[in-house]
Symmetry: C2
């Protein structure tokens, strides 16, 4: 199934907002309904494809399958940009620019990927690797004067190897989250990687963008799961990872992870796997304040036991009920709900019971109030729904976007305040006072991530209206010591702040690697680092 071209997910799952929410949006944020939703797909004018006959022939030769090259308008539109709110607003407006690919190529093997890259070099095309198309940071929107093709990896969707002794699996990059889990589950294993984009994003994208899942407290981030990688570049193949850990030089796996297609196309990923849990339980805890809840999360992250899922909503997010997206606007919410944490355990029955009992003592000692499994069950039920909710908000004329960062624990309070204030003051000054909600989405021994959701009225030109707020948030993140992204990535949207974060020498190091593996600048040009 293809994703809704103008929004998120399965078109059949789209649902309008309940009346209570549209009322809340109107009364609280001044949101006024828009006239219309997105145009029909076939009503959008697309520039004529500009592949030369020679380039077309070369791409056809690179691909064994006769239908491996697609130049029709629908295929090209479905591979235009990602799923950030500005991406959606522009595609909803029927706005297509030079960020539409000339064609979509569908290779079926590593060698075909190599051949496509060689064809691109020979014919002056760029190539944008495309997994689930779920980037929210401009990772699919190259900055280039050149024509480009979308290199869609969906046909590389196999489980190449399963080593039950070492507990590793070798996966092809085009496997979507549920496909990957199904292949592993039927053999008794799980990857344990469940980001919000799980239903659509792919293994290759998880690796290329350093994805982090909702169960990262227990299973780790995707980049921590990766043990080996195969990468296709215009200069040939890189294979890296012969052991879980090595002292043989820099860790090249960690140079490929997060490279967002700019240093190569990931064609195989070996990951660690875990036994399928026999027990899963998610529960709610309430804290009097975000500060108190943060202290409790830190204590679990530092001294254990580590739950599998651990997240904490701030007062606003708890109040609005976004922690349980299905309940937004519910009248059952208490007036001052404090801050709700979702704490989950997955594993064997015994392990789950032991960790739960021990963590319970810690949480009580941290003045947490146990509020039962119902909030946990609601969270689980709605864990992948927020992007659908965003579509409904956009349909209702509201603006909704998310952004995220991470820092060491001691920087978290300042970072939280700085980003919230930057968003609030910028949008308020622009005449659209926002609701800014936040949760701690991922915890580590030494720090945590903060995930912000912003909802406001759209303003006249919604994309232009949002830009200064996003810039202000990015500036605030860097000034408060945070990283410009904890799990969304860099893309083109964060590129300038990324350059400030790692400094000119860091950028030069990456540009040097890129020039070595991609001297013609074929790979996702302008994403991650500026063109040299």
């Amino acid at each position: 199934m293809d994703m809704l071209w103008s929004g998120w997910g399965d078109p059949a799952k789209a649902a309008p907002l309940p009346e209570s929410v549209t009322g809340l949006l109107r009364d609280l944020l001044g949101v006024t309904p828009r006239d219309s939703g997105p145009p029909a797909l076939d009503g959008i004018e697309t520039p004529a494809p500009a592949l030369t006959d020679e380039a077309r022939a070369a791409l056809r030769t690179a691909l064994a399958a006769p239908d491996g090259l697609r130049e029709d308008a629908e295929s090209r539109l479905r591979h235009t940009r990602g799923k950030s709110t500005p991406d959606l607003l522009r595609i909803r407006a029927g706005e297509v620019d030079d960020d539409i690919p000339e064609a979509v190529v569908l290779p079926s093997s590593h060698d075909e990927v190599l051949a496509v890259l060689r064809a691109c070099v020979a014919h002056g095309l760029a190539a944008v690797p495309f997994g689930g198309g779920t980037s929210v940071v401009g990772g699919l929107a190259p900055t280039t004067k050149r024509s480009f093709v979308a290199l869609d990896l969906r046909r590389l969707d196999g489980l190449l190897a399963l080593d039950e002794v070492s507990r590793t699996a070798t996966l092809q990059p085009g496997l979507r989250g549920p496909q990957c889990e199904a292949l592993l589950n039927e053999r008794g294993w799980t990857l344990g990687h469940f980001p919000q984009s799980f239903e659509w994003a792919t293994v290759g994208g998880f690796a290329a963008a350093r994805s982090s899942g909702q169960a990262s407290a227990g299973y780790g981030r995707f980049d921590e799961m990766v043990l080996a990688l195969t990468v296709a570049t215009p200069e040939g193949t890189l294979e890296t990872g012969r052991a879980p850990r090595s002292a043989a030089g820099p860790d090249l796996r960690q140079l490929v992870l997060g490279s967002e297609g700019a240093l190569g196309v990931i064609t195989a990923v070996t990951v660690r796997i875990r036994p399928l849990p026999t027990s899963r339980v998610y529960e709610g805890w309430r804290f009097a304040s975000f500060e108190a809840g943060t202290a409790a999360l830190r204590r679990l992250a530092q001294d254990g036991p580590r739950p599998t899922v651990l997240r904490l909503s701030d007062e606003t997010e708890t109040f609005v009920g976004l922690a349980q997206p299905d309940a937004i606007g519910s009248t059952e919410l208490p007036r001052n709900p404090g801050c709700v944490a979702i704490v989950g355990y997955e594993g064997t029955d015994e392990d789950t019971a032991v960790r739960r009992a021990t963590a319970r003592e810690v949480l009580l000692a941290c003045e947490g109030e146990f509020i039962g499994e119902e909030p946990g069950d609601r969270w689980e039920h709605g864990r992948y729904n927020a992007p659908y909710l965003r579509d409904a908000l956009l349909d209702a004329g509201a603006f909704a976007e998310t952004l995220e960062t991470a820092a060491f624990w001691s920087a978290i309070p300042g970072l939280y305040t700085a980003v919230r204030d930057a968003l609030t003051s910028t949008l308020t000054e622009a005449g659209t006072p926002p609701l800014v909600m936040c949760h701690i989405s991922h915890t580590y021994e030494n720090g945590a991530s903060l995930y912000f959701t912003v909802v406001s009225a759209q303003g006249e030109d919604a994309v232009a209206h949002w830009a200064p707020a996003k810039r202000a948030a990015n500036d605030a993140i860097l000034a408060a010591g945070g990283t410009i992204s904890h799990h969304h990535g860099v893309g083109t949207d964060h590129r300038d702040w990324y350059a400030r974060e790692i400094g000119p020498l860091g950028i030069r190091m990456l540009q040097a690697v890129k020039a070595e593996v991609d001297p013609s600048g074929v790979l996702n040009p302008g994403v991650l680092v500026p063109l040299r």
Copy 2:
């Protein structure tokens, strides 16, 4: 205190082998006593220092301290090579070549390191970063026609910051293991990094060479502890690491870690720290075979609970008693001791007790036999003694060297056999049948490391005699799917095998980074990657 120039450690701690061991060496391996030990330090002829007046003046200007530049023979000899057995054999023979530095420089700050590197660029010198001088892989022996200076970091030995909320410490690179622990311990914290070289190696070296300590099962490898790095290069400063984890591009920390001075000089390292344990216990377990013991270690590494220390000697190592170096040759050893594992727990009293009790059940289920705390205590007492033992073996006319690798669990049995056979057959064919011992030194969910110790007679020219065996072991490691080093590093000794491990494109990526940060090739030339 300076290390023994011709061998390991504190000269006062040197001790001859007991009669029982020299007898064993003679009877079992045909080791015949050598005529003499190493020559006197002041008896060694060193080539005259070749710094030009201009270079000398520039280095003096770069350093504030009047004694920051040293050209005397003793300083230069003490900074010649590292501590591999071939290094020791050559220095014991009074053999000094173009691998002696022209001078030793002792900067006191990051800015002085930058200034030294600029002076080297201006005057055609190379610079070899020098921490504890404990490299066993040729990491201090550049391949260059140029003159070079040893850049000794011992004066950068401060604790720059301690963040008790985030549990991080920022350390200067010249801190030796015990200095570093003392600074942290007095505030109630520990790094938990205890490699065999602990007493002499430095924080900068731990990072540059991806060190792994004896308690890595509990505290992790050094590269897993590093959260941020400051690096001086001829092209300026790199600062990397603003959060425990980030999706902002490739992880540049992991590009610097393992770069062995070839990509920059590490001038500050921020690491995670842990509360000082209140309880420490080490115990012995016996298994019928290496295979059975390996299965038990794997089960703990994969399903927990993870001990803090976890190592398993094979039959030969158990028999010889090298697992407890002080007991070598002891007549108390049973005839067939099986394979002994050392299992240790450090932490709070409660945590230690719980993990120990749970692990005990697992080890019993894996047919382990508990043999009490005495083997654990002996291991703890002798944990840093093996390099002293090597000096005594060399004094007695024997040859002794170690090498190590790592792989995924399913490759471990084949790797073990391949390396042991390669060493045994090569040295036996050369007329000096060896004792080859092995232990699993570090465990991970997905694999483990193997640490081999070889003892034999020296042969006519001991360095040349060893070379084919070392090459055969390296070839066997790659052929069996292992990495060329789990924690010793690449240096110049492993460089050719490293190139085979990561492939030509991997080498080109690193060379491109090196050319960018070090266009004149000043930094440890020929170490890690070949000169371009």
